[in-house]
Subunit: 334 residues, 2 copies
């Protein structure tokens, strides 16, 4: 129980010694190779010895030998992602765990050289990012031994048109249009790190507008501050074509708008309808309760994980066909 050496690692050789068999036999039993014939008696001997010693195979050695790791790396951007992404990761992790894979997340800040050091220490089987990687980044990862890199930019397809970006914007706009609104504006987030994603959502709104024969949306950044939000609203109302409704980048921006409107004695939806995105818990408690667009990120995560798993098994999978369900949660702000 209390050894001198504080923590000597238990190797498969120890198990072999303990069970009086060879390391090969131990390995065969523990990975139960199908085409080997091992009598139940010896199998039991190995299993018990392994349990007694608490043997755990050493990942690096196993990976080195087999050539493939069972780590899936999720590369997250350094900006806050909200609870939707949380659920997505959650669901994906569960599916992958079931398949013997391990999902880990890393927030990635710098350029390709940092990505390189990441892969240097992890050597994942697959890397999953939020937006496509640059060619240079891909090269670095490939050289580091990454087998599968996602998402792959579909060459003929608009990069930005992922379901969790422009799809959300489109859904927001369609809901407002169905309510009879004809002049829509868009509330961008103030954080520059969110600019890319925000503009692709705005793009979804714009397309929904042109599809319906409406004018393109006015867009303006809305900081998370009630007074500044109020100013933006005032400017909109003073414009030649004042909007009757606004799509917000997310629920937080939408809440800022509602608070700003209160400050200048306006209220949703009569003076200006407001729709958010993400369905954070606070949305239901706003004044008035906020209508918002929710992405079923849980099942999206599970779908992604399944597709990834099949991809690792050799089936080239088309990830662009994954269309998650996104739906409107109607409350009182529209």
């Amino acid at each position: 129980m209390s050894a001198k050496k504080p923590s000597r690692r238990v190797t498969s050789a120890d198990v072999a010694r303990e069970s009086g068999l060879s390391r090969a036999t131990v390995s065969f039993v523990l990975n139960d190779k199908p085409n080997q014939s091992i009598p139940p008696a010896t199998r039991e001997r190995v299993l018990q010895a392994a349990a007694r010693l608490g043997y755990i195979p050493y990942a690096p050695a196993r990976t080195l030998r087999s050539g493939r790791s069972d780590i899936v790396l999720l590369v997250l951007p350094p900006w806050p992602l909200g609870p939707a992404m949380n659920r997505l990761v959650d669901a994906a992790a569960e599916v992958l765990t079931e398949a013997g894979l391990t999902l880990v997340a890393h927030i990635h800040l710098g350029g390709p050289e940092r990505l390189a050091s990441l892969n240097t220490s992890l050597a994942p089987a697959a890397v999953f990012g939020m937006q496509p990687f640059t060619q240079e980044e891909q090269d670095v990862m490939r050289r580091a031994g990454v087998g599968l890199i996602l998402p792959q930019p579909p060459p003929d397809h608009d990069l930005a048109d992922t379901p969790w970006s422009s799809g959300v914007g489109r859904m927001q706009a369609e809901h407002l249009i169905a309510r009879g609104h004809e002049q829509i504006s868009y509330a961008l987030p103030d954080d520059p790190r969110l600019a890319e994603l925000a503009h692709s959502r705005l793009d979804g709104v714009a397309r929904a507008c042109t599809d319906a024969g409406l004018a393109p949306p006015l867009a303006a950044p809305v900081p998370l501050d009630a007074d500044q939000a109020a100013r933006t609203v005032s400017q909109w109302r003073d414009s030649p074509t004042p909007p009757t409704a606004v799509c917000a980048y997310n629920d937080e921006v939408a809440l800022a708008l509602l608070a700003g409107m209160r400050n200048i004695d306006l209220s949703a939806p009569d003076d200006l309808a407001v729709i958010g995105s993400d369905d954070i818990p606070a949305a239901a408690f706003a004044v008035p309760p906020l209508t918002t667009v929710a992405l079923d990120s849980g099942s999206l995560g599970a779908d992604l994980a399944h597709a990834l798993q099949r991809s690792l098994d050799g089936d080239p999978e088309d990830f662009s066909t994954l269309r998650p369900s996104v739906h409107v949660i109607e409350r009182r702000s529209t």
Copy 2:
């Protein structure tokens, strides 16, 4: 440029061949060993060959040989953690990256056997969790080669008394007491997964109350639903000792309370003062704007990372001395 073999891995042997030197020399140069004498000319030869081939050392082999990995694993519980934890992880990752370590996060769902498989594929140098691990879990990780496991339960010290748990509760209560409140209640979260953390925060509130000579707080679960929250508030007001203020587990619970109070024509702070915790963006936009307790999780993360790094370097570090700053953000709900 376009080889038949789709992606043969570039090894240090390739670099050796390319530079016309031996693998050992290559290794010496690349890890620049101090006590070796390598003329600048050869050094340059190696470096250029490595760059030309785009050599990236293979993590598993390196780890296998050296015995220590540079991965730090953050084990997250499967429940939502809020933006504070996000900032903490962010800051910690930055510090660790600077030190050549790689921080990755994994959400952990099951028992020790899952933890085992986790470590089987990762072999991290250190594991960092939110609450102390059980003895069994620690054993499993130790056997898997994990050198440092945090947090270590201090034997003589109350387990629950971490700064981000009871410290928050204490700070909430002290603020209310300073405002003259003498009967305080506590709004627990409805999610059973949060029970442990919530009760330790409640404990902080209770201790602040007894320290001030007040009665212990009434506690009740408050679901994220306005009507149900309203019912709880009514019950409190009907109790023999009706509270004049309430500490909420977090801002979301606090927002639910405010919404519930609106439904029954009560308002904060006159009918009942409400204080939250976390300072989520939505708190500022509530009606009335929510007073809350904010943890400086960014600097806490950085401190933790520094301590962890020193610990890995051999200095036994006392993590229980880390006292993050937690302060009250006064708005209008108290």
